[in-house]
């Protein structure tokens, strides 16, 4: 079976003055048709840049090497192939739904444009289909909403519009980059439910990128944890939560405060800071913060062994 998305040895660098900053370092990832994959990492871990590279959305001072294949076809730096699928079969939504929409165009126009551009639909048809899609993402009074401008909608509603827009051409893959981070917790829960529902309905694959493990937990079948530009652990979601093998994953799980936790109790923490983005590393990037680090971790950078069902880039992982 051809994977929907196959990223191989992808590196993303930014040239800054005379230095080159490595944001993503030799990352490989595979998303099967219909699969939901979670990508979790802290700010600066490279999780967003990896998909910006895949979508051809990197700024001009960035360069990407490696391979990104969408449904078997190379799209990294192949403009013709990318243009054919981007925005129709391969779509992406972002953290801030306000800046993702054009402020001076009606919602209906922005939605219809997608169908006119990609499918050659007439504006009249396209508007009707746009209205139907707003119903699908549970926006009440969709007919009236088509004539509204982004500022007239709440943050949650705007994100629903973005989801509707991403679904118009029936994508095989939707990349959702921190889709709920800017939203209130009750709205966040609704958007996650919506993503779950449309994924089932449309049978598409979903990549959910978040800094928050608990957001990804409810939806992803497989979770990849990123640290300092690399994937350090990849495992089926259930297994990752039950038996985290990388010390970073284990520590991250422990330091998430829980509403069922003790009142006024100290939180478990992870001491130190992640390395500065782009620092060239010969050793394990997590070694300075790792309770299990040994001599070998400071000399040799651990690698993922690829192709295994669950995989960890650590010389001394926790036993599974």
């Amino acid at each position: 079976m051809i994977p929907t998305l196959q990223i191989e040895a992808l590196s993303v660098g930014f040239s800054q003055r005379d230095a080159m900053i490595q944001a993503v370092d030799q990352v490989s990832l595979r998303v099967a048709p219909g699969e939901c994959v979670g990508i979790v990492g802290e700010s600066g871990s490279g999780k967003t840049q990896m998909f910006m590279a895949a979508m051809g959305l990197l700024p001009s001072n960035a360069s990407a090497t490696g391979s990104v294949r969408f449904e078997g076809k190379e799209i990294l730096a192949v403009n013709s192939a990318l243009k054919r699928v981007r925005g129709s079969k391969l779509t992406m939504i972002f953290q801030d739904p306000m800046t993702s929409l054009t402020p001076h165009l009606q919602i209906g126009t922005q939605l219809a444009e997608v169908l006119v551009h990609h499918n050659g639909a007439s504006w009249g048809e396209a508007r009707i289909m746009a209205g139907r899609m707003l119903d699908r993402v549970q926006i009440p009074e969709s007919k009236r909403r088509l004539h509204e401008y982004p500022y007239e909608l709440s943050g949650g509603m705007r994100q629903r519009v973005m989801i509707a827009m991403s679904l118009l051409c029936r994508p095989s893959l939707l990349i959702a980059d921190e889709p709920t981070t800017a939203l209130d917790v009750t709205v966040q829960a609704q958007i996650i439910e919506l993503l779950r529902a449309v994924r089932e309905e449309f049978g598409m694959a979903l990549v959910l990128v978040s800094h928050d493990l608990s957001v990804v937990a409810g939806l992803a079948q497989r979770i990849n944890v990123m640290y300092a530009g690399r994937i350090v652990e990849s495992a089926p979601a259930e297994e990752l939560f039950r038996h985290p093998r990388h010390p970073y994953t284990a520590a991250l799980l422990k330091c998430i405060p829980s509403v069922s936790g003790q009142r006024r109790a100290r939180l478990q923490t992870l001491d130190g800071q992640p390395p500065r983005t782009g620092e060239k590393l010969e050793a394990c990037a997590f070694a300075p913060r790792c309770p299990r680090s040994a001599e070998r971790c400071r000399i040799e950078r651990p690698q993922l062994k690829a192709k295994a069902a669950s995989d960890v880039a650590c010389h001394f992982p926790e036993r599974s």
Binding site: G155, Q188, A189, V215, R263, R266, L267, T269
Partner: protein, 320 residues
């Protein structure tokens, strides 16, 4: 005697009422959590207490002195006991001032008798108190990470040993692994310095970890107030229940109790009656006509809901 007593406070911006009927007390050494969604008035309340916005009505008594009636000079003297830490750690520091100068400035203003040597000593000690090194005083904010900048913001607020520290979303901009470090730092500082805290956050888990008591605020009104234990174990207001139910849980963690059915969203927010009724799955006729008053439903537990007693009774039955 409470340290802070807020009575019938209302804040109006143009034609919009941002806060109304706000009443609460905060005692020395206590942490009061303040939760609510964006736009609910949490930050406005913090600003009104500090007189950074002018309330339309009401009293803010700090140590039995009405701040709203204070002369500028009186207010100036009170400010040393009333400090705030903001959400964006980098934006709240002057980029052209070394962090040492930033932390030292309150001392220059409020303790003019100190000589330069003594001030430098106090700044160094404070930096160490918040987990940084005294030698970092000569550096500029951009040389620090977000978590470190937040430590500097806390150091600047705490250098005068204030009686009340207001924290407005102090960990929301930070990565999960850093949030816990800041929460623990605040707990440690409170243990040693004994200040009271008004802790504003949309993250319920963080609020629970820090607070003795919690206020839930919805569209400018307090809808529930209780001890942290009671609020999380036995929420009375449907909005509080929805908030708790919406917190994404990690697999294996206990879900928060008092889970509510999904929130409805029928039409625009109402102007008459209960402000929550358009989203409330329990709403009845009386909710459309009368604003529910904040009533005591058990000792120390207040809720503004016509059905609070019934909902509490139902929860009690479910738990048996």
């Amino acid at each position: 005697m409470p340290l802070l007593r807020v009575q019938d406070l209302a804040v109006v911006f143009g034609r919009r009422t941002a806060l109304r009927d706000i009443n609460f007390e905060l005692f020395a050494g206590e942490t009061l959590g303040l939760v609510g969604e964006s736009g609910s008035g949490k930050s406005t309340l913090a600003r009104a207490v500090l007189r950074l916005v002018r309330p339309a009505r009401g009293r803010v008594e700090f140590l039995e002195q009405n701040l709203l009636a204070c002369s500028p000079l009186q207010m100036h003297n009170i400010r040393r006991d009333l400090q705030i830490v903001f959400q964006d750690p980098l934006a709240s520091l002057n980029p052209r001032m070394t962090v040492g100068d930033a932390i030292e400035e309150p001392l220059k203003i409020f303790e003019p008798a100190l000589d330069a040597g003594a001030r430098t000593h106090r700044v160094g000690a404070m930096l160490e108190r918040v987990g940084l090194a005294a030698g970092m005083a000569d550096r500029y904010p951009h040389e620090f990470s977000g978590g470190q900048c937040q430590r500097i913001g806390i150091a600047r607020a705490m250098i005068l040993n204030p009686k009340l520290l207001i924290c407005d979303e102090p960990v929301s901009a930070l990565d999960v692994s850093i949030q816990g470090q800041i929460v623990n730092l605040l707990l440690d500082l409170q243990r040693d310095a004994g200040m009271a805290m008004l802790f504003i956050s949309h993250n319920l888990a963080v609020v629970k970890h820090l607070s003795h008591r919690v206020l839930v605020i919805y569209r400018g009104r307090i809808v529930e107030a209780a001890s942290s234990d009671r609020l999380f174990d036995c929420p009375a207001h449907p909005y509080t229940r929805a908030l708790l139910a919406a917190v994404p849980a990690l697999p294996g963690a206990d879900r928060a109790r008092g889970t509510a059915p999904e929130l409805l969203e029928t039409g625009p927010p109402p102007n008459i009656g209960c402000g929550f009724r358009h989203r409330c799955p329990f709403a009845v006729a009386v909710c459309a006509s009368d604003v529910p008053p904040l009533i005591q439903i058990e000792p120390g537990h207040w809720a503004a809901c016509h059905l609070a007693h019934e909902l509490m009774a139902k929860t009690a039955i479910l738990e048996l």
